[in-house]
Amino acid sequence: MTTPLLQVEDLKMHFPVKSRGLFRRVVGQVRAVDGITLHINSGETLGLVGESGCGKSTAGRSIMRLLSPTGGKVILDGVDITNLSRREMVPHRRTAQMIFQDPYSALNPRHTVGSIIGAPFIVQKVKPVGGVRKEVQELMARVGLNPEHYNRYPNEFSGGQRQRIGIARALALKPKLIVCDEPVSALDVSIQAQVINLLQDLQQDFGLAYLFVAHDLSVVRQISHRISVMYLGHIMETASRDVLYSAPQHPYTHALMSAVPVPNPQLAGKRERIMLQGDLPSPINPPKGCVFNTRCFAAQERCRVEVPELIEVTPGHQVACHFPITESLGTTLITGPDPGLTEQPDNAPDSPNAAATNAVFEAGAEPWAQRQS
């Protein structure tokens, strides 16, 4: 097995909770990310899903070393970057870049698009052939922006265009990995599709790997090769996309899948809905044993005592549960052919019939994601 591009082992990111008042003693820890293990191969997309506040964005930021992890290891392209200083990190920044959630706050309103996309070259002291300006305009064209808008300011663009600017900026240094922190959740649905398509095209062209953080299960299904499900700072289940959507084993994943809206009302009526009781527990004081035990419909005594390990149940399918559910609960509703699901993503790195599926893909087999012309 080749070494993965990104390897994350038992990554922990805790934030101290300080008391109010003069002395500000540390009174607790927010366990935003509490020991996650995952890997991403080059050219692959790993979707990271979970509800709000489960620590998925924090995980992305710790991997990017925008935060200093409390524990664990982040190995990027063979280099352990977990404890590198800000200065030591600089050369490794080229390997991984990030796309942000809010296209309105991710671009400095006082800079022109040209200087925003060109900034990575200046910061990393890279001199592209033909000059920064030419390179930036090529990048703009590549992400579907008009290169003539080089001197415009971000406020003159729509949300989708701004996100394209963010993508161009992330591409500038030719990274191998891009951490996408909910890149489409702030956009209109039609624009989401365009941006997702763009990301997929770019993945194909540049052999990019994505860590795709999102809460929208349809979007994640569209773009990911493999998916990890997070809950309260822990990874509950990791599997290839098709396995996760058709045969999930973790009760939490079942609950998530049952929440995906089904466009066909007849099918929707037949589907089993699992309603989780209660709220997400506080990450300051997470439940003992399995963190999901307070809301789990299959929880037993053991779950309240013992933390389940993330165990490989079948090759490539890891579940952190004492009592994984192997039979279908009727939650996933994978009954008929669904082009978005049965086809491999067009750029699966080791898919034997990538070319064939590509053709289907190009022909517009995606029902909701019309490719822009």
Partner: protein, 326 residues
């Protein structure tokens, strides 16, 4: 409409675009702002008048120090003629009791008032911006210490301190090699204005920095490997110009007023040197008899304040890329 205008991705098909820098854009926008342009004109005029005050005075054949007994009455020194002795020789009239020309005194007073307020504002803005950025960016203990220090300064009763320290500090300044008299008092005023002025701006800047540094474009800069210095100067500082300019344009006239108030109280510029404060202080005594003596300097002060504010507003709007573009 949030529609993406896609262009065919043809690398190389990048036509040359005539780009305008932010400064050119801002100037173009500023020029369209009629109020700001008028104010700028007035300000430039006032500045020129202040700079060339000696020339203008000699051209009119007046000076601020000469006593003219011929234009005041022998009993009580009442200016002869209507409106405090306004005439072709003395366009703004003459001073009660001495017959000194008010026009000349105002021009010379303008010089001193503008010098004090401009220098003090510059120092205030530099200090306030610096400490505000440090406080907001460093956070933690630095922020706490600076914050308490600012509170301390703000809690001091300004006027009392100014009056109490005036004698001792002015002497101290003189002993440091500054010429005695008005030069030392000028330095004292500038020092005291700057010292008490910067915390207000620093607090504004600190708040701005606190909100700016959480924005994702700062994270993005970190993610591409930018140094703290670059983030400070390239990402955060450009977003601070608006509050800085507005604050400066509000502070400058405040200092002119404060100088006037302090001269009024006797710790400002010493007579016979004219200053706005001294003139206003004197004019109040004769307000009922010669209203123009109070209203002319008062009016000029008001014009200064208003024009500074309008120009400041104009610059802020012009520097804002979100403003309409055409």
């Amino acid at each position: 409409m949030a529609v993406d205008l896609a262009v065919p991705s043809k690398p190389g098909a990048t036509p040359e675009v005539a780009g305008r820098s932010l400064r050119q854009l801002a100037w173009a926008r500023f020029r369209r702002d009629k109020a700001a342009m008028t104010s700028l004109g007035v300000l430039i005029f006032i500045f020129l008048v202040a700079i060339f005050a000696p020339l203008i005075c000699s051209w009119f054949g007046v000076d601020p120090y000469t006593f003219n007994s011929s234009v005041i009455s022998d009993d009580g020194g009442k200016p002869i003629g209507a409106w405090g002795g306004i005439s072709w020789q003395h366009p703004f009239g003459v001073e009660w009791g001495t017959g000194r020309d008010i026009f000349a005194r105002l021009l010379y007073g303008l010089r001193i008032s503008l010098a004090i307020s401009i220098i003090a504002t510059t120092i205030t803005v530099v200090l306030g911006t610096f400490f505000g950025i440090v406080s907001g960016f460093a956070g933690g203990k630095t922020d706490a210490v600076l914050g308490r220090f600012m509170d301390l300064i703000l809690a001091f009763p300004f006027l009392l301190i100014v009056l109490a320290l005036s004698g001792a500090l002015t002497q101290r300044i003189t002993s440091l090699g500054v010429p005695e008299g008005n030069a030392s008092r000028l330095v004292y005023l500038i020092l005291i204005f700057s010292l008490f002025g910067w915390p207000y701006l620093a607090r504004i800047i600190r708040g701005q920095v606190l909100s700016l540094r959480e924005r994702e474009f700062v994270e993005s800069a970190t993610a591409m490997g930018a140094s703290g210095r670059r983030i400070l100067f390239k990402e955060i500082l450009p977003n601070l110009w608006a509050p800085i300019l507005v604050y400066a344009s509000l502070t400058l006239p405040t200092y002119i007023g404060a100088e006037a108030a302090l001269s009024f109280l006797g710790v400002g510029i010493l007579p016979p040197e004219p200053s706005f404060g001294a003139i206003l202080a004197d004019s109040v005594n004769y307000f009922k008899l010669v209203p123009s003596y109070l209203f002319i300097p008062g009016g000029i002060l008001a014009i200064l304040v208003v024009t500074f504010n309008l120009v400041g507003d104009g610059v802020r709007d012009a520097l804002d890329p979100r403003a309409a573009r055409s």
